[in-house]
């Protein structure tokens, strides 16, 4: 995997403005994605991970506002793009698969006419050319091109998801953002879709920003990953390394939030339902109680990421040593 970053997010800050309060949904978040790299962003709902994705796509609307930081794509400043420039940039350079991708297809248009739209709008192809390109795309995701004339309700959930992936790849984007792409699908279909994405990624070489709360799934697919909590990144490292020895207590809790398939049945506590960054106090770590007693208290704020080993970042106060955490 190359080291030249395709996407650089630096000190990104996003706020939601309410009537009488502000919520900082993304607070000083920095990461980069390399050429051809699959980068995972994990966290529970409400932690700000989808907001990061929407910020990169420039899809945030009132009351959300990017109040600080930079997003650079191949050196170009994404936040400075306007109007037509932005419209041409989206989908051509960065495409996104949304959370309920299955429902993001138009129910009254055939799959074919929705795909043809992409080519006629963005590349000015004739309908005939566009149809043959669409057929090619469907074959790429193992769907029979006769399905071009099907309506979304005639396809199974897995097939619809594949069709959405095909559409996202239509203009050969350099970066694909996937926001919980398999949440509503059962495990067997999920695995097939994931294997397909992995295959396509190797074939076409695009980079992926993969967002999910399922750590196991993420580690299977991603090269590098980051864990987000209350709008802050708390850990970032090579995916398998982080899974093998998580440094931040929150990473561990997120991993333990799914019951295991082997070993004895132990009672899990899960993550707390009540501790949420909804009152504008985002940035405080509710996990300091889980830290060893010699640890600085992070209840005031989650510290910035520190590089504790080459390529390994964790948000903890400087005076703690890494040995103390790798339990």
């Amino acid at each position: 995997m190359s080291t030249t970053p395709i996407l650089e997010v630096t000190n990104l800050r996003v706020e939601y403005h309410g009537d009488n309060r502000q919520v900082v949904a993304v607070n000083d978040v920095s990461f980069s994605i390399g050429e051809g790299e699959i980068f995972g962003l994990a966290g529970e709902s409400g932690c700000g991970k989808s907001t990061v994705a929407n910020a990169i796509m420039r899809l945030l609307k009132d009351p959300a506002e990017i109040t600080g930081g930079q997003i650079r794509f191949r050196g170009r400043d994404l936040l400075a793009m306007r109007g037509e420039e932005l419209r041409r940039f989206r989908w051509k350079e960065i495409a996104m698969i949304f959370q309920s991708a299955m429902n993001s297809l138009n129910p009254v248009m055939t799959i074919g006419s929705q795909m043809v739209d992409i080519f006629t709008t963005h590349e000015g192809l004739s309908v005939k050319q566009a149809r043959s390109r669409s057929a090619e795309l469907l074959r790429l995701v193992s769907i029979d091109p006769v399905r071009l004339d099907s309506y979304p309700h005639q396809l199974s959930g897995g097939m619809r998801q594949r069709a959405v992936i095909a559409m996202a790849l239509a203009l050969e984007p350099s970066l694909l953002i996937m926001d919980e792409p398999t949440t509503a699908l059962d495990v067997v279909v999920q695995q097939e879709i994931m294997a397909q994405i992995s295959d396509l990624q190797r074939q076409l070489g695009f980079s992926v920003l993969f967002i999910t709360h399922d750590m196991s799934l993420m580690v299977e697919l991603s090269h590098r990953m980051a864990v987000m909590h209350s709008g802050r990144l708390v850990e970032m490292a090579d995916a398998e390394l982080m899974f093998a020895s998580p440094l931040h207590p929150y990473t561990l809790s997120l991993m333990n939030a799914f019951p295991p398939l082997t070993g004895p049945r132990v009672r899990l506590t899960g993550l707390s339902d009540s501790v949420r960054a909804t009152d504008g106090t985002s940035g405080s770590c509710s996990f300091h109680v889980a830290c060893p007693p010699d640890r600085a208290n992070c209840s005031g704020n989650i510290p910035d990421l520190r590089e504790v080993q080459p390529g390994r970042f964790v948000a903890e106060h400087p005076r703690t040593s890494i040995e103390g955490t790798a339990a």
Binding site: S156, V188, E240, D273
Partner: protein, 366 residues
């Protein structure tokens, strides 16, 4: 290995220890237009018991018919055939057209989508007040409030949330309200249809723990419908695997996940994400396995057997059975090519589209 040759009857525990006994449950859905005689069998001759005070998980992929089983038990669908015995009475015979209030007071259901199952125009209190009043659990205003508050505490919510509207609550809180609503009538049995699949990881365990607590403290029996095997293993005493409308394997949850025996159970388990897995995903192997499983009539390992005769239950361990000819006594376990390598692998090119729904394997009767 013994074989249950005396037809497909599972354990015959005394009826007193059983909350729900389902036998031969079958549901056909009509296909085509008004005058069409075609139908599709969604549930095919399903037998199981829910022992009193236990959680039974019903797992399977989308479209396997598991929700139809729950809906038949909730009397939201009228089964084509079979019997459902609750409290010693065959309810399909005694309450032919619709469920009685007494039945609703015994069996309650929690639905998958907490965003769709609560009317957005009403406050939380309304959802609890209705069952309390209709089933005569509380009469006066104060009593309703007292019982509602009690229910809220039982499911881990606070009393002041009674005045909230559903949109003010998170998904996990809404699902807790749904559970409180089911509990309002003091049911003996709760049917939970994918209660956690729409919820975030952060609240999933909380709901599962609540289910376990209701079982342990109140002795409520539950049918837990899910496609998440890890959740089933975590909370259910018994797990039943459903495939294409039929139960194919069942047993004590830990034992079943440790020794999955039916090819379909193996397929399901191998699809669960697991970074520690040593064998990497191989689309070729997966296509073979899936084809074998999805098209039992063409199962390369059993020849004509599966198409000629319906497999019966074979007991393969204490509290563990499987319905597959591979485990018939005359076939030794070592001959199971799913566990060993076989030369008799069909070529992948003729494998059907990966996304073919299980429907073709079902009998479409004309």
């Amino acid at each position: 290995m013994t074989t249950d040759t005396g037809q497909r009857r599972p354990s015959t525990a005394p009826i007193d220890d059983v909350s729900v006994r389902v036998r031969g449950l079958t549901k056909d859905f009509p296909l085509g237009g008004l005058f069409s005689r075609r139908s599709m069998r969604a549930v095919d001759n399903v037998d199981f018991d829910i022992p009193r005070g236990t959680i039974v998980a019903l797992v399977g992929e989308s479209g396997s018919g598991k929700s139809t089983v729950a809906r038949a038990l909730a009397r939201l669908e009228r089964p084509t055939a079979g019997s459902i015995v609750v409290g010693g009475r065959d309810v399909l015979k005694t309450e032919k057209s619709a469920a009685s209030r007494r039945y609703r007071g015994t069996v309650q259901m929690v639905f998958q989508d907490p965003f769709g199952s609560l009317n957005p125009a009403h406050r939380v209190e309304h959802f609890l007040e209705r069952p309390l009043r209709i089933h005569g659990k509380a009469r006066s205003r104060q009593e309703v409030r007292r019982r509602s508050a009690e229910l809220m505490r039982t499911v881990g919510l606070t009393e002041d949330m009674l005045d909230s509207y559903p949109h003010e609550l998170s998904g996990g809180q809404r699902q807790r309200v749904s559970i409180a609503r089911a509990l309002a009538v003091d049911p003996e049995i709760i049917l939970a249809d994918e209660p956690t699949s729409m919820l975030d990881v952060s609240v999933r365990i909380g709901i599962l723990n609540l289910m376990a607590r209701l079982r342990d403290e109140r002795g409520i029996s539950m049918l837990f419908i899910t496609h998440d095997l890890a959740s089933a293993r975590y909370v259910a005493d018994t797990t039943l695997v459903m495939f294409a409308g039929a139960l194919v394997e069942g047993g004590e949850s830990l034992e079943l996940m440790k020794n999955p025996s039916h090819p379909y159970t193996q397929l399901l388990l191998s699809a669960v994400p697991d970074p520690a897995r040593t064998v990497r995903y191989d689309p070729h192997q997966r296509a073979l396995l899936r084809r074998a499983v999805l098209a039992p009539t063409a199962c390369p390992w059993q020849g004509p057997d599966c198409s000629a005769t319906v497999p019966v239950r074979h007991t393969i361990g204490p509290d563990h059975w499987v319905r597959c000819h591979l485990y018939a006594p005359q076939v030794s376990a070592a001959a199971n090519p799913l566990l060993t390598d076989s030369d008799a692998q069909p070529d992948l090119d003729s494998a059907p589209d990966l996304d073919v729904a299980p429907a073709p394997t079902r009998k479409a009767t004309r």
